[in-house]
């Protein structure tokens, strides 16, 4: 009946069942409270069968982290495709700067929040265990976070060029963006029924916009004088138009 391939496929299916079971239990009681037996029970296998798939609970945890990282990659990729860098590259008034930031930031909240809803358990685990009690998990997440920061940094590089302004320490800005994104994410994922998605989503958008505006403005002094002068005259023109 079952060929060798079918047996292997069945094993993979069971492995997935264990991960799904573990995720649901994580959401209820947290990763630290997971027990091998409860995970096996929820997955519908004998406790002893667990060892055919993972050496221990920590190894299962790391598998879940890797899965979560893939989701975050997908999420940031979708965000990237949604980013529209304004075409008014020449203008440099503060108002235009804020408009460029707004355009850049726009796709973040809606897309991230879609992922927060769809992959609630997985992302909650990823964000929470970043500072959790398992050092194996912390190490794994820290490595993956570095890659996410790199990915986001590429987008910021593009924004910086489009604005014609340096961004100072780009990785620092990317890291702070992720901090804000994760913090907002946890806020809705931990207590989804009580909280108002729309408000938190808007608030995340605003926080990111403030940060980016600050990052772009703070390195004004480093731009060459031609750019700085241009910015000033633009400012005057804007004033006259009012």
């Amino acid at each position: 009946m079952a060929s060798r391939e079918e047996i292997i496929a069945q094993k993979e299916k069971t492995t997935l069942s264990l991960m799904e079971a573990a995720l649901e239990l994580c959401a209820e009681e947290g990763f630290a409270s997971l027990s091998l037996r409860s995970v096996a029970r929820k997955a519908g296998i004998a406790p002893t069968s667990f060892y055919r798939h993972f050496r221990d609970i920590d190894e299962l945890g790391i598998s879940m982290v890797m899965e979560a990282k893939k989701i975050m990659d997908e999420c940031l990729g979708e965000v990237r495709r949604g980013i529209q860098l304004s075409s008014l590259k020449a203008s440099n008034s503060v108002k235009d700067l804020l408009r460029m930031v707004d355009n850049f930031i726009r796709p973040f909240a809606p897309i991230c929040f879609q992922y927060f809803e769809k992959y609630n358990y997985l992302l909650r685990l990823f964000f929470q265990e970043r500072t959790g009690s398992s050092s194996a998990m912390r190490t794994a997440i820290s490595t993956e976070m570095d890659q996410l920061i790199d990915f986001l940094s590429e987008d910021l590089e593009k924004l910086s060029h489009a604005c014609g302004k340096p961004l100072g320490d780009i990785r620092l800005v990317a890291e702070t963006m992720l901090t804000i994104i994760m913090s907002s994410g946890m806020e809705i994922m931990v207590a989804p029924e009580k909280s108002d998605h729309e408000i938190i989503s808007q608030s995340m958008q605003d926080k990111l916009a403030l940060l980016l505006a600050g990052a772009l403005i703070s390195h004004e002094a480093e731009t060459d004088s031609k750019t700085a002068l241009k910015m000033t005259t633009d400012h005057i023109q804007m004033k006259k138009l009012q």
Copy 2:
């Protein structure tokens, strides 16, 4: 020998021992892994005596959260006393704005990091369990966080007045500042030996500065035209001086 007062004092001492024991165990294995018996063992009392002090582990956890909140109050109070609002209220160039932000931010990193070192376990618990698995803890921490945001908002209000610029949603800015502070704090508290305090401290300082610069600049459009014009002419003067 022991008067009634002495007995009461002894009870309080034991209660404190339980909290200290719990804190140390939290740091090792996380709050979710605490057991009543392990806490009692570490505190040097019989497991059954635990019930003379707390109904269960969650109640002990909430006591620790309250203690941590006091420490955070103390920390932010000390920061507030260290804030120096620049006296150059009249000037409004971007450069001066950044200088005011820098002056405002300066006390945060050194003072917060002192507290992170001194109250490592307590603050780690407070920051981590904000999104942990015990809903009683989450609720308690959330309430205390609101008060911290209010406290910080008062300082931002002063900064806003000193700059003559509105700050938009002040609580949103305060909340983001705390997010950054907690995130940096966790970074060093979770793995103190591996990480370089100086770098993380500087990086927190920079992140806060970017945020505040962004918050002050982003509501430019809302200032009255006199202020906006003044800012522009200042900008030109600054240019001429270079």
